[in-house]
Amino acid sequence: MDRRSFLKLGALTASSSAVGACGQTVQKVIPALIPADDGVNPVEGRWFATSCMECNAGCGVIVRTVNGRAKKIEGNPAHPVNHGKACAMGQAAVRRAYHADRLKAPLLRKGGKGSKLEEVTWDEAIKVLGEKISKADGKVFYLNDGVNDALAGAAKSLFGENPAFTIASNHAPGRESHFAAGEAYLDFPSMPFPDIANSDFTLLFGADVFESDRSPVYFARVFGDSRRSRPSARGRFIYLGSRLSATAAACDKWLPVPPGKLGLVALAVAHVVVDEVIIRGLAPSIPRNTLSRWMEALKQYSPEHVEKETELSAEIIKRLARPFIEEAPAVAVAGDDVAGYTNGTPTLKAVSFLNMVSFEIGREKLRIKPRRDPAPDPDLKNRMLGWVGLPQSQQSFAKLKKLTEDMAAGAYNVGLIAHTNPVFDTPQALNFKAAMAKTPFTAVFALFMDETTADADLVLPDHHWLENWSAQIPEFAPGVPVLNLVQPVISPFTAARNSLDVIIEAAKKGGIASPYANGEQYLKAFIAKFRAEMLEIPQQLSAVGAWDFLLQRGGWWPSDEEVEPKNPPTTDRLWELKDSLAAPAPAFAEGPNFPFHLHLYQPVSRGRGKGANLGMLQEMPDPITTLMWQHWIELNPATAEKLGIKEGDLITVMSAAGSMTGPAFPYRGIRPDVIAIPIGFGHTNYGSVATNRGDNPMKLLGLAVDEKSGALAWRSQKVGVKKAGGSVAMLRDANPKGEYMGEAFNL
């Protein structure tokens, strides 16, 4: 796996060490490297194209390296997801690669369960894993974090033949609800990526698109484009939801809506829109009898009907609907505050319906550009996911839940867990930890010691993606086949080994024949298959030439011209839509002393706890609370006053599943009946920076799911709050001279 041999370096000191400005230090050994084709010391650095694997958004990046050290990650300007931009977490990834806590050698519990993890050689680690696999009887599972990478594909191709094998993902909650809704409207299970960039009006239904890992950079880019890139109009954004999130903060207006009631709003808006369409004949492409069938289904959702339940006046709902009628292009986007409830899927469908009608109206006015989804061959992405990553049908909480139950029942002999921390970031009620203890042998591919790694029987230190070969299918425009390639841009910082190589080698030792000797061959074979499908890659190039072409580019994606416009939905399809126009009431995990709704959320740029071990991200103030290095529990100031809670007071939040404690942060942008807590805090074993910082709110979650899709309904928990006694100082990023004085600036 070492085609880029010139990246191999000797031990050298970085040229910019922390030498004081005035200190006359001893002259240092000059960084010197041998393999000669790279020359020495080009200070300007070399730029390598690769792909960010921090989350499933799959941004293309270029990395500046100087003296074989990665210095800076920037977005790849040619990449369709991020157009040269990058988020905070992506840029901080260099610090994850050069992290003092990186695992340095394989660790093995030599005496079996209960004994200590001890350092072993790579040969021994692979031998042991091979032995376990050979004796596993095919009862193997593979679990990853939902990133569609080559490792998942390789695991599937190695072990997938045996029916006892299971592959599952521990991804951000709610994804499968989007898939289910996408299937109903786009013929393809996928996250919707509506054309915000060209829209005058965007209605966000609890869509925390700048925080979730659906692709914060993509959404930020289209947000900016809609706002100010078009000379014709300034894009307007209205956010509906129970908390004023960082995404809502960027919008023009936040309208609080009770938890789980957004479906009613969506259908009420649709009611107004369809009504106008019928009266004014706005969308001749939709047959009249279809329209009247829709209207019949929507009858009970008139603004006046839902006014009381949604706490939005009929007047406001009509105003929300107006842009869809008057000034299309207008789009609706749904997100976490929709998918997190037990009625997530129907609500997502209601939002998609609104988009569909809006699209038909806009098409009539010829003001909308054809969107990119779905591509000519919607099945292609699924086939690609068969090679790299997991088919989207496999990515569900139901699957993870089933896997955990089976593990606890002793159904698996060997577990392979890659780059995910289910012991920490799944609901503690799932009790993944106990299930792991019941599995005779679990091997974990990881960069750092964390809660899951600490419980493993074998720890296999993996390369960071800056050091690694891999491929990834990003979560992007449905059906548009984007392939990201990951190549090593720096020499490995520790004695880790590429997980792709390790898994192939161990499987071979375990008696599983693989046509590929190592990971590089696996990738090249995948590229060959891909070329056979995607004729657009220059065919005149040889296999080696195509490989280099793709590496230099960072992957493959069609240009805008190469993607054919969306086919309008057939009349049959529109006819069927009526069946999905319903807004069932959400179910909540209630309790006698639980008056509040629990609103867990993923904070900006920290993932679900992955970024917690980086001082840089800990010290980046949260955009909303401006807190640093600290966990917090948000509640409305009125609620806080009623309970006698002040900022910084330690409070305990209790649910039927468990309780957690943290400092209170009264925040005006939250409904009085909601308690919001960011996830990703409360690590118990994740290096010195992250450990014991806050408390893990996953303790509060039960296992309620969205009835239609089986997604974890992580916002359906109800909780109680009481003072825990004592208080702490809140570390806010304020002006050293006091609070910022907003009035002074002409914002």
Partner: protein
């Protein structure tokens, strides 16, 4: 010491325009700046004493009471004032104004009186209370173009002068002036919403020149006569909803 002279024309005068209508407060610029400029993290204890260090920070303002709450973001960094209050108080001339409109901090000249930080109306100068906290592993990442500041000196946003210098260097190699868009500070390059634009305001064809002369442009504390080189474009609009 150079005295402010608005009429003096150079080939280059660097300026930055920040569109507040685009900013979503995501913090990508903060981390972009930190990794580019070797800005250390100071740790929880120092943050508690108000010594947090970010060359660019996102100021957050909350207006109104529930349910009519509005949050606004304002990225704030050294404003590179033409008539900078920090420059006139430095006893050792460690901070001065150069011909290209940059407020330059000369680290090796600074003795750490912190007068400049006290005199800065924008609070964008940061004092190194300790030696930077980069461990052995992290040093691999440090940018060799930027010096690592030691304990006892002031530091602040430099408009990524190492990038300006390199951009000019490349232009010089090709025997041409710097083109608009050649030079991008780390924050502008990374900003996902495209809120930050950087360029030469003396080039009348440049983007920043056009934006600065738009209706929405204003500067912070203009009434104090500091003549900042950072322009903000007013966010929001009438009758949004």
């Amino acid at each position: 010491m150079k005295i402010f002279n608005a009429d003096k024309q150079n080939d280059y005068k660097w300026a930055m325009v920040i569109d507040l209508d685009r900013c979503d407060g995501c913090g990508a610029c903060v981390i972009g700046c930190q990794t580019e400029n070797n800005v250390p993290t100071v740790g929880q204890d120092d943050v508690a004493t108000g010594r947090s260090m970010h060359w660019i920070r996102i100021e957050r303002y909350i207006e109104g009471e529930y349910p009519n709450v509005k949050v606004r973001f304002l990225p704030m960094m050294c404003q590179h004032c033409e008539a900078a209050p920090c420059e006139s108080v430095c006893p050792v001339y460690a901070t001065y104004h150069n011909d290209e409109g940059l407020n330059v901090q000369v680290y090796n000249r600074c003795i750490g009186t912190r007068f400049c930080g006290n005199n800065c109306p924008y609070s964008v100068r940061f004092f190194n209370w300790w030696d930077p906290s980069f461990d052995e592993a992290t040093r691999n990442q440090l940018n060799p173009d930027v010096s690592v500041r030691e304990r006892g000196i002031m530091e602040k946003c430099s408009f990524c002068m190492q990038r300006i210098r390199r951009g000019k260097d490349h232009a010089k190699d090709e025997g041409r002036p710097v083109k608009d868009g050649d030079i991008q500070p780390a924050c502008a390059q990374t900003c996902p919403t495209g809120a930050i634009t950087f360029g030469n305001i003396n080039d009348h064809e440049s983007k920043v020149h056009e934006m600065v002369h738009g209706k929405r442009a204003y500067r912070l504390f203009e009434e104090k006569g500091t003549h900042p080189s950072v322009y903000y474009l007013k966010g929001g609009a009438e009758n949004v909803f």
